[in-house]
């Protein structure tokens, strides 16, 4: 390779590496701010800021969803396996909101330890399947569950 071209090649590689390292360090330093939400275990451990609007994300615990009669208020619990947060939300939930599915709520912790949400979003997972396959899988899971008991 011609020495001038080699020099230019080294300069190009230097620019790419330097930019990547710089952006990498910035994103590493800001990693907690880049996360969209806190997990329930982070909140129970006191890692989330108090007295300010935050987001909490986790799996909706099966059987935890209660609707308050005569209002749009819904109470449910989200978990990440290690911690649990009880959420109160007044409003219309997205269609994909369901038990055993992930949800992300925006709001503030109340004095009584529940999380008062002003917005609830459903988080979809990366699995796509036709309804018949989903039904068959559910039946197979139930059967395996019965066999274990």
């Amino acid at each position: 390779m011609h020495p001038i071209r080699r020099q230019r090649l080294i300069a190009v590689i230097f620019v790419v590496v330097l930019a990547t390292v710089a952006v990498g360090l910035v994103t590493y330093a800001l990693r907690q701010n880049i996360n969209l939400f806190y997990t329930p275990s982070q909140i129970t451990a006191g890692e989330a800021p108090e007295g300010t609007r935050i987001r909490v994300g986790g799996m909706v615990v099966p059987g935890s969803v209660q609707r308050v009669p005569g209002s749009l208020e819904t109470l449910f619990t989200v978990t990440d396996g290690a911690g649990e947060v009880k959420i109160a939300y007044t409003g219309i939930l997205p269609d994909l909101f369901a038990e055993n599915e992930a949800a992300v709520a925006t709001g503030m912790m109340r004095e009584d330890g529940t999380f008062g949400a002003s917005e609830v979003l459903a988080k979809h997972d990366e699995n796509y399947m036709p309804p018949e396959v989903a039904d068959a899988m559910e039946k197979a899971m139930d059967k395996a569950h019965e066999a274990r008991q």
Binding site: A19, V23, L96, A98, L121, K123, N127, Y128, P130
Partner: protein
């Protein structure tokens, strides 16, 4: 000092000259156009009309057949642009800056398509059009990087200076591509992790996944076709005073 020996074959040099590229790619165009047409129409009819609806999302999942291929090509197209820029900076090949300029609006359009289709899908699925999570925000940064490369080309009257400046911006912007790709694994985001993985089977039923593969192949063909057409148009513009372009115009008219 030892003389440098040629490391590239003859066709590479032919492809590197604007006139050589123009005449070499002319017979490719009908094939690429036919392949894109067949794959895109076939994939769209298969995906929108015959693939089963998703168990949870119903029919709204079908936007994946546009969203994922355009997002794929928006990322891959950025590397096309950045590598063309690097070749232009190092070897000072005329054609590589032309290719970089041609790739920018195409990549910007694909990024915009993936952002808009994602927002349209987000409303019925998540409950919102837009969330500032790592995936969506880094994709927006990609859109601005493409716009920056386009803008730099118009900021200079001198083509060579514009090419150099745009190439440096394109190279710096490559830092964003792994961030977009890995954002859903590195941080908590609303956007779900990748369905199509390099090392594992896709987490999608084959009856839904096969039309998606056809659409991705169709988008690749369309990308190649539009990129080549853009490059050819830019070549004709830059060489408009040269003998071969004048001859070409004359032969077309008669």
């Amino acid at each position: 000092m030892a003389r440098t020996r040629p490391i590239m074959p003859a066709w590479f040099h032919r492809l590197g000259s604007p006139k050589g590229f123009y005449s070499m790619t002319t017979p490719w165009l009908p094939w690429l156009a036919a392949a894109s047409l067949v794959l895109l129409i076939g994939g769209a009819v298969w995906g929108l009309g015959f693939a089963p609806a998703d168990a949870k999302q119903g029919n709204s999942f079908r936007i994946i057949y546009i969203h994922v291929p355009s997002a794929f090509l928006a990322l891959a197209g950025y590397y096309v642009m950045a590598v063309a820029g690097a070749i232009g900076l190092i070897w000072r090949m005329k054609l590589s800056f032309v290719a970089m300029k041609a790739a920018a609006p195409l990549g910007a359009a694909l990024t915009l398509i993936s952002l808009v289709t994602g927002a349209l899908w987000g409303k019925p699925t998540w409950g919102t059009y837009w969330v500032w999570d790592a995936r969506i925000t880094s994709m927006l940064v990609l859109f601005f990087l493409y716009l920056g490369v386009i803008a730099l080309h118009y900021a200079y009257t001198n083509g060579e200076a514009a090419g150099k400046a745009a190439a440096v911006l394109a190279l710096v912007g490559t830092a964003n591509i792994p961030i977009i790709y890995k954002s859903v694994d590195w941080w908590y985001t609303l956007h779900q992790p990748a369905t199509i993985k390099l090392t594992e089977a896709p987490s999608m039923h084959p009856s839904m996944f096969q039309p998606l593969l056809v659409m991705i192949a169709g988008f690749y063909c369309l990308y190649a076709l539009v990129l080549i057409l853009n490059i050819r148009a830019e070549i004709l513009h830059r060489e408009r005073g040269s003998h071969w372009v004048v001859e070409l115009a004359r032969s077309r008219r008669s």
